[in-house]
């Protein structure tokens, strides 16, 4: 009896396995292995180029609390862009790389008189990469040095300041794609278990005067206005414990310190923490200094809000985690802390001052614009959540979105994008974004309330 049962179990197992195989279509089982791709990794030149075309519609709210000093044409209901993007890498000889990365944006706003078309070239990178010995690397030229492990805000990304020329997308990930690198010399030693990097980015333009945003200006007044240097190292202390420590210096200002850490938990959770600290001014002092230096503010301008003008030790930090689900959904949640930003009391003062003294509106808004150019949150705290859902709602579609929430007033910015991968070289997309909140809140006070766009991206 026992033997019969054993045989029955054996036959059932074999039959179950065969049944599973039978479910696989013949085409899969009999299909001959395809030839390796014609374009492999054995080439000395590679390039990636795409065209990105998007018309956009925007709804504007009538901002009464602190009106934004915008001309009528800035409030275009219809706008859009056509962009060409190229990244090329050439290896003329062993251990030598030449990298060029460039983007040309043509933006237009067609709702008002006169209609306008603006062209702007972003020369993002152009450098020679050398590998003189195993694990040693030297990069010379314009390099996009991006630091940090977080998704929505990177306190240790010291080279983000004023690096974005054209903002077509508020998504922090997209902004990293389009930003300018800085002219620098970068040396790095990488070994099994750690690395050390040192870089120097010299001042090449005057620190004074407004930014020159003419079409083909390389933008060195944005990226090489001051001499900056960075020293960083990482070391594996234990399995999955590889902290990264950074030391940043700018033209004799007090040094800034930074730390990056990541840790996985189980097979689907990743967490990270990013911190930077140092003696530095808050957003109000920085906006005032920049406004006076560039001539944007009259010489006698003083800080519009009460604040601590000392260069005290101030912290910035991000703590975040992502969770991947079996249905191809990945959720990310982050908390951002920026001790340089406005406190809830300063926000109340911002609105009160703007309503009481309309002459200050331009300066108050420039303060917010300046923080955005610096790549820093204007508020002291914010929450960031992101979702990426591959093959949703159907195959070849991807839904992604993020929100930034100001916990002090409950206002939020929300962006959703649905992409459809029409074929391996064409992506179609729809994007909608909205700023939500009342008129005396961080996000409810900005003039654009809702925008939507359709997008076609074609790779070559």
């Amino acid at each position: 009896m026992k033997r019969a049962l054993a045989w029955a179990a054996l036959l059932w197992t074999s039959a179950a396995s065969a049944q599973q195989l039978d479910q696989i279509p013949d085409m899969v089982m009999e299909d001959k292995p395809e030839a390796p791709p014609a374009r492999g990794g054995d080439q000395t030149f590679s390039a990636k180029a795409f065209l990105d075309v998007a018309p956009q519609a925007t709804l504007w709210r009538d901002v009464k609390a602190v009106p934004v000093p915008l001309s009528s044409y800035d409030r275009s209901r219809w706008s859009g862009w056509s962009s060409g993007d190229l990244r090329a890498e050439w290896r003329p000889m062993d251990k030598v790389r030449i990298i060029v990365s460039d983007r040309l944006d043509q933006t237009y706003q067609d709702d008002s008189t006169p209609s306008t078309h603006q062209m702007r070239n972003s020369w993002r990178e152009g450098y020679v990469g050398l590998a003189p010995a195993d694990g040693w690397f030297v990069d010379l030229g314009r390099v996009n040095d991006k630091e940090g492990v977080a998704t929505g805000y990177n306190p240790t990304d010291f080279f983000k300041r004023q690096a974005v020329l054209v903002r077509q997308n508020a998504d922090p990930a997209a902004l990293r794609d389009t930003r300018l690198g800085a002219i620098m010399a970068r040396g790095q030693k990488v070994w099994d278990g750690g690395s050390v990097t040192a870089l120097v980015s010299p001042a090449l333009t005057s620190d004074k005067g407004a930014l020159d945003d003419s079409v083909f200006n390389p933008g060195l007044d944005r990226t090489n206005r001051t001499t900056r240097s960075l020293l960083k190292g990482s070391l594996r202390l234990a399995e999955d414990v590889i902290p990264e420590v950074l030391l940043f210096d700018e033209d004799g200002k007090p040094p800034l310190f930074g730390v990056n850490l990541t840790r996985g938990f189980g097979d689907r959770v990743v967490t990270w923490a990013e911190w930077s600290g140092g003696r530095r001014p808050d957003v109000i002092s920085t906006a005032l200094t920049d406004g006076l230096r560039t001539g944007l503010f009259p010489a006698n301008t003083s800080a519009p809000l009460a604040h601590d003008s000392s260069q005290g030790f101030r912290n910035q930090a991000t703590i975040g985690s992502s969770l991947s689900f079996e249905n191809k959904l990945t959720l990310t949640l982050e908390g951002h802390y920026n001790q340089l930003g406005l406190s809830p009391a300063q926000w109340r003062a911002w609105f009160a001052k703007g309503q009481a003294v309309p002459q200050l509106d331009a300066i108050l808004w420039q303060m917010r614009q300046n923080a955005q150019d610096q790549g820093e949150p204007i508020s002291r705290t914010q929450l960031f959540a992101r979702a990426d859902w591959t093959d949703f709602p159907v195959k070849d579609m991807e839904l992604s979105g993020f929100t930034v929430i100001a916990p002090s007033d409950g206002s939020a910015y929300v962006q959703l994008e649905q992409d459809y991968y029409l074929n391996p070289v064409t992506t179609l997309g729809l994007r909608a974004s909205a700023s939500l909140g009342n008129q005396t809140s961080e996000w409810g006070s900005i003039p654009s309330s809702f925008s939507a766009l359709a997008r076609v991206v074609r790779y070559f």
Binding site: G41, A131, D145, V190, T330
Partner: protein, 255 residues
């Protein structure tokens, strides 16, 4: 006389006892078939089939090297297709996964369970020594049908994750009793849900051993969702240790 008999019995049973392998040793032998013992590279072509028709495709160049300590593999993956993902990189360093996009210069940490294409997740395309991350128990001996519709006498091993951050909490693995080849695997989430079934097939001599050059992955729920992983362009590679550091990714030059 009794002592002599006992002694003879002991001597007679010794070779059989010595030949008896533990489940962990069987798993290690199976790992050796899937994974070459020296640094190597290969091309992995993933094709996703929906209702029997090819729906999507991804081509990856895979570089793998065994760690000196611990015995786990480190893997660097370069995306060759589709065009929108070309030249992006994925690094497995220990059990951590990093994704690097040359466009944004951003390194993003990923979880092994995050899906790559079809039924294949990130953890499926990197080289893994199961013996290092799982505790194996022999749960039976069965005859099953392999990926080429042949009957195979197999050990059935129950693998339980012994390390954090591994792609699957539990695996059932059928290994051919005669040659230690992995024939079939069932992969489970930490909630106990069966995620996928894999059949190893198209056995060919590659890098000095007969190895599977194809894995068919069936979705745990919908049998119409099938992903095929094909391995080609095998080659021994002299890969520096520095390649497997996150900070190396911006300098990657490929071959």
């Amino acid at each position: 006389m009794r002592k002599i008999l006992l002694f003879c019995l002991l001597i007679w049973s010794l070779p059989a006892w010595a030949a008896e392998r533990t489940a962990q040793e069987i798993l290690a032998a199976s790992d050796d078939i899937r994974n070459p013992d020296k640094p190597f590279s290969l091309t992995t072509t993933l094709t996703e089939y929906r209702n029997g028709k090819p729906a999507d495709r991804m081509v990856l160049k895979v570089y793998s090297k065994n760690e000196l300590k611990g015995g786990q593999f480190r893997t660097l993956i370069r995306f060759l297709e589709p065009e929108r993902d070309r030249d992006k990189l994925m690094l497995k360093q220990g059990n951590t996964l990093w994704f690097y996009d040359p466009a944004s210069k951003a390194g993003v940490r990923l979880s092994p369970q995050q899906r790559l294409l079809g039924q294949a997740s990130n953890g499926d395309v990197v080289t893994v020594n199961l013996n290092r991350d799982y505790t194996a128990a022999l749960s039976g001996e069965e005859t099953i049908t392999d990926g080429d519709h042949q009957s195979r006498d197999c050990f059935r091993l129950d693998l339980t994750a012994s390390a954090e951050d591994v792609t699957y909490a539990r695996i059932e693995l059928w290994i051919d009793k005669t040659n230690d080849r992995p024939i079939k695997g069932k992969f489970y989430s930490d909630s106990g849900r069966m995620l996928k079934t894999a059949f190893y097939r198209r056995w060919e001599e590659q890098l000095g051993r007969i190895r599977p050059t194809e894995t068919i992955i069936l979705d745990g729920v919908d049998p119409n969702l099938v992903t095929r992983m094909q391995f080609s362009d095998y080659g021994w590679r002299d890969i520096p240790d520095s390649w497997f550091q996150r900070d190396y990714l911006p300098h990657f030059q490929g071959d």
